[in-house]
């Protein structure tokens, strides 16, 4: 009788025990998943800033079983200690991360955990260390990139200024030498041709230095067709105009800057043999200006593949480009409720610009609506 009872009870007890163990392990693994997820979320929230991450991640490490954490930090030559929780005489684990001008020595103080708890605490600490390593790598890369961009920017600005200096130097000598009406006429004839070019180059350099125009530029009436023609001529671009003569009431330097930045792309990266087709039409309170070329499949495929990067600052498909033109064009247009988008239809590749007919009209419309 008692034997029969044991046959029933023992499996039941064992089964129950097994269920409890499974439930326990499931709970632990859920906890582990939660801790790791929290570490990723915190890293995201602090925008991969290594120092902030150490500060904020302590609570997660603590919940995973860590009693103390010491981070000895060398941050670009600045040394500091970051201590959390209880620090015993002997740390249970050490990690050392060093890249470039950053070095961090981590000491984890974990009580003598056993089995799965020890394993899980180690996993959380490893994830924490790896994320920290990744943050440092990102930080150093950002610094390196910024440095390279600044050097490149400085080089380009220097180059433009040297050209300007050269022009002034030779012009000065020319002016000094004028003795006859004929000399004078020759100089004036040359200046008439060259000064618009000097102005355009100086504007471009200034535009790059300022990276954005102030919002205080004066609003004036602009004949769009004439302005586009002038900018294209300065860039020595062949154009085919199919535009009505729209008159805009906007800041002329701003629109000129936008056009220079957009049209320069055709000069520097477009099909040199093809003219730039320019079309415009009105829709509501906006003028839409389409600037495009008919291009080869290879050119179109390349641009389409990189479409999402076209407006990224400092991204350029060529070594000689600053990668600021389209970024600046979009930033400037945003200031006046304008837009710029890529045109990619059949063989047509280029940009469509949305320009408000009048900045004042829009402002007054907005204020009347808000009233």
């Amino acid at each position: 009788m008692s034997l029969n009872l044991a046959i029933f009870v023992v499996p039941l007890v064992l089964g129950g025990l097994l269920l409890v163990v499974v439930a326990y392990l499931k709970y632990q693994s859920h906890q582990l998943k939660q801790h790791i997820q929290n570490l990723y979320d915190i890293n995201q929230a602090v925008q991969q800033d290594a120092l902030d991450f150490i500060q904020q991640a302590w609570s997660v490490l603590q919940h995973s079983g860590c009693q103390g954490l010491r981070a000895r930090v060398n941050w670009f030559g600045e040394h500091s200690d970051m201590c959390f929780g209880q620090l015993h005489a002997q740390a249970s684990e050490h990690q050392y991360i060093a890249q470039g001008d950053i070095a961090i020595e981590l000491a984890f103080y974990t009580p003598s955990l056993r089995g799965e708890k020890r394993y899980m605490a180690q996993l959380v600490q490893q994830t924490f260390t790896q994320l920290l390593q990744q943050d440092i790598y990102i930080k150093l890369n950002q610094i390196l990139l910024t440095q390279q961009r600044l050097e490149r920017f400085q080089l380009f600005a220097q180059h433009d200024l040297k050209n300007l200096m050269q022009f002034i130097e030779l012009l000065g000598d020319q002016v000094e030498r004028i003795h006859s009406a004929q000399d004078y006429a020759k100089l004036i004839a040359r200046l008439k041709v060259s000064l618009p070019n000097v102005k355009q180059r100086a504007q471009r350099t200034l535009g790059q230095l300022k990276t954005s125009l102030s919002g205080d530029t004066e609003i004036e009436l602009i004949a769009l067709q004439a302005l586009v023609t002038q900018v294209a001529a300065n860039l020595m671009l062949k154009v085919e105009m199919q535009t009505d003569d729209h008159v805009l009431c906007l800041s002329k330097p701003l629109i000129s800057e936008v056009l220079v930045n957009v049209l320069s792309n055709f000069r520097d990266h477009g099909e040199t043999q093809q003219p730039v087709c320019i079309k415009s039409y009105t829709q509501g309170a906006y003028v839409y200006l389409e600037l495009y070329q008919f291009v080869s499949n290879a050119k179109r495929d390349y641009v389409v593949q990189n479409a999402r990067r076209l407006f990224e600052p400092f991204w350029s498909s060529s070594e000689s480009g600053m990668g600021l033109g389209l970024f600046l064009a979009r930033s400037l247009l945003t200031k006046i409720d304008g837009e710029i988008h890529l045109i990619n239809e059949n063989q047509r590749l280029g940009f469509v610009l949305r320009l408000p007919l009048s900045e004042q009209t829009l402002a007054s419309e907005v204020s009347s609506v808000s009233k």
Partner: protein, 216 residues
């Protein structure tokens, strides 16, 4: 191909119209006949039409106006095709590597922007003098100076080939690609000249206008 004229001809290759204008005005005032080009294609077209004593070359040309690639490519092309014009590199890119690359590619001088009028004129005068005396040496004594970049320690065959190629290119250029005349000047059979043309893949550089005309 027309011969050099009494007044020295200078070609200015710069994508900056304002600099071109001022350089042209300065040189014209001092008696030079100036042509202008704002990119490599235009410069090549100018060279196909007339002979220049001096070329004032900006290294940064479209589409890479902030790099030296286009200017260096042009220097290489001039050297390969056998143009005798002395090239004055006038650039804002004062990197030592650029100066080195220009010397290697056969530039006559390396000038940095901004340059004073006096220094520019002195460089142009010197280059003109060298061009004219080289032409004289060729006309009076039949000497053809060659610029060969020989790699030391690589044996003599590469040097011989390079000199041979440059020499045949130069004479073909001087005779306007007249194989018969080239053979006569070099004391070779025409078959040998054809063999060398094939060996070094030499092609005639056509004047763009001439080129268009020959298209059916």
């Amino acid at each position: 191909m027309t011969r050099i004229q009494a007044k020295p001809q200078v070609l200015i290759v710069d994508d900056d119209a304002a600099i071109r204008a001022m350089l042209a005005l300065t040189l014209e005032y001092h008696g030079y006949v100036v042509s202008e080009a704002d990119n490599l294609a235009q410069a090549q077209a100018c060279l196909a039409q007339q002979t220049f004593a001096v070329i004032v070359l900006d290294l940064g040309l479209p589409p890479d106006e902030h790099l030296a690639t286009q200017g260096l490519a042009f220097l290489g092309w001039l050297s390969r095709e056998g143009y005798g014009a002395k090239v004055l590199v006038l650039t804002g890119q004062d990197h030592q590597d650029n100066a080195y690359a220009c010397v290697k590619a056969g530039a006559f001088d390396f000038l940095l922007k901004p340059i004073s009028e006096a220094k520019l004129l002195s460089a142009v005068e010197r280059a003109t003098l060298f061009f004219q005396q080289t032409q004289r040496m060729k006309a009076e004594e039949g000497f053809q100076p060659l610029y060969v970049n020989a790699q030391l320690g690589e044996g003599m065959k590469a040097v011989r080939n390079q000199a041979e190629e440059k020499f045949i290119r130069q004479v073909l250029f001087d005779t306007d690609f007249n194989v018969h005349e080239t053979a006569r000047r070099l004391g070779l059979k025409r078959e040998n000249v054809y063999y060398l043309i094939k060996k070094y893949h030499i092609q005639r550089v056509l004047d763009p206008a001439e080129d268009e005309g020959s298209t059916p």
